[in-house]
């Protein structure tokens, strides 16, 4: 469990760096549209979290489960949206290229933190089984 503490500290540090990059990408150019990227990436794991509880019986674990697929589909759509949104804004010259790159990297860090945290958490949980 000592490694767990280090992991948590490291992940929170990465999360802070990610948010820092996103906020810098907004504040340096006084254009706060890239802040939507942070919102998108924070919302990205939500569909999986909601739909993973649907149709999760002991029996239907290997069956075709529509709601879980729907959750994965929406998650994937939201993640790609988070990456595509700054590119589209930069292409339309609403934000600059620097803001685009910074918000994408920051958003990737935030989402990576969330994914890594949930992965570590579920791994810890399954050790007790």
């Amino acid at each position: 469990m000592a490694a767990g503490l280090k992991t948590v500290i490291l992940l929170s540090f990465v999360l802070a760096v990610g948010f820092l990059l996103i906020i810098l990408s907004c504040a340096l150019w006084q254009n706060w549209l890239p802040l939507l990227v942070a919102l998108t990436f924070v919302l990205a794991p939500l569909p999986n979290a909601i739909f993973s509880h649907c149709g999760h019986d002991d029996f239907s674990e290997y069956e075709h489960s529509g709601p879980i697929d729907l959750g994965r589909f929406i998650t994937s759509v939201v993640v790609i949206t988070g990456f595509a949104f700054p590119i589209v804004l930069a292409h339309a010259a609403v934000i600059t290229g620097g803001a685009c790159v910074m918000s994408i990297v920051g958003g990737g860090l935030v989402y990576g933190t969330i994914v890594a945290y949930s992965a570590a958490f579920t791994q810890d949980e399954s050790e007790f089984d």
Binding site: D69, F73, S76, V77, A92, A93
Partner: protein
């Protein structure tokens, strides 16, 4: 023809060859994720063209010669409707297995599947129509044909997303017996 006897049903005219894929343990998950990514990419490529058109500033003339209008949205909407129809249908109905209701339900499911594919193909054809008629044949500068290409890309990617979702949902599960198709 030396087809094994159990592999086809002589009463059926159209055989739907459902391919059997074994891509490892997470093939279904990966397929669904790829489908979602393709779907989002499709729509963002088109939205990119639309936003670019909305923010286009006149450089050389008085006004921008062409904009993305509602006509450009129609093929994408058709593709989206087709995508929804194709993926909402229960795949077991189309196979027409015994014990899945009457045969009329199977017939209706296939009809709706046909309508869905027709919508998707119609969206693709419509996007190519708009590319050719509006942007290639129109006397616009070279950069505006990007709108048309983005439209075609959107519809192709949405079709690919449908294909990936279809394949992902039809891979046989681990503890599932092999269905005779």
């Amino acid at each position: 023809m030396s087809l094994p006897r159990a592999d086809y049903d002589p009463r059926r005219v159209c055989l739907n060859p459902f391919p059997e894929f074994t891509l490892g343990k997470h093939r279904r998950t990966a397929g669904v994720y790829i489908a979602g990514a393709l779907f989002a990419l499709a729509n963002w490529v088109f939205l990119d063209a639309a936003i670019l058109s909305a923010h286009m500033k006149p450089i050389w003339g008085d006004e921008v010669p062409v904009h993305v209008t509602f006509v450009d949205w129609v093929p994408g909407i058709c593709s989206f409707i087709g995508f929804l129809i194709v993926n909402i249908i229960d795949k077991d109905r189309i196979r027409g297995d015994e014990g899945f209701g009457d045969s009329r339900a199977v017939w209706r499911a296939r009809l709706f599947l046909f309508i869905g594919f027709a919508f998707m193909a119609g969206g693709l054809a419509g996007s190519i129509c708009i590319l050719v008629l509006k942007y290639v044949l129109g006397d616009y500068p070279e950069q505006f044909s990007y709108y048309g290409y983005a439209n075609v890309t959107q519809n192709v990617a949405m079709m690919l997303a449908g294909v990936f979702l279809w394949i992902a949902q039809n891979t046989s599960g681990e503890y599932e017996y092999n269905l005779t198709l």
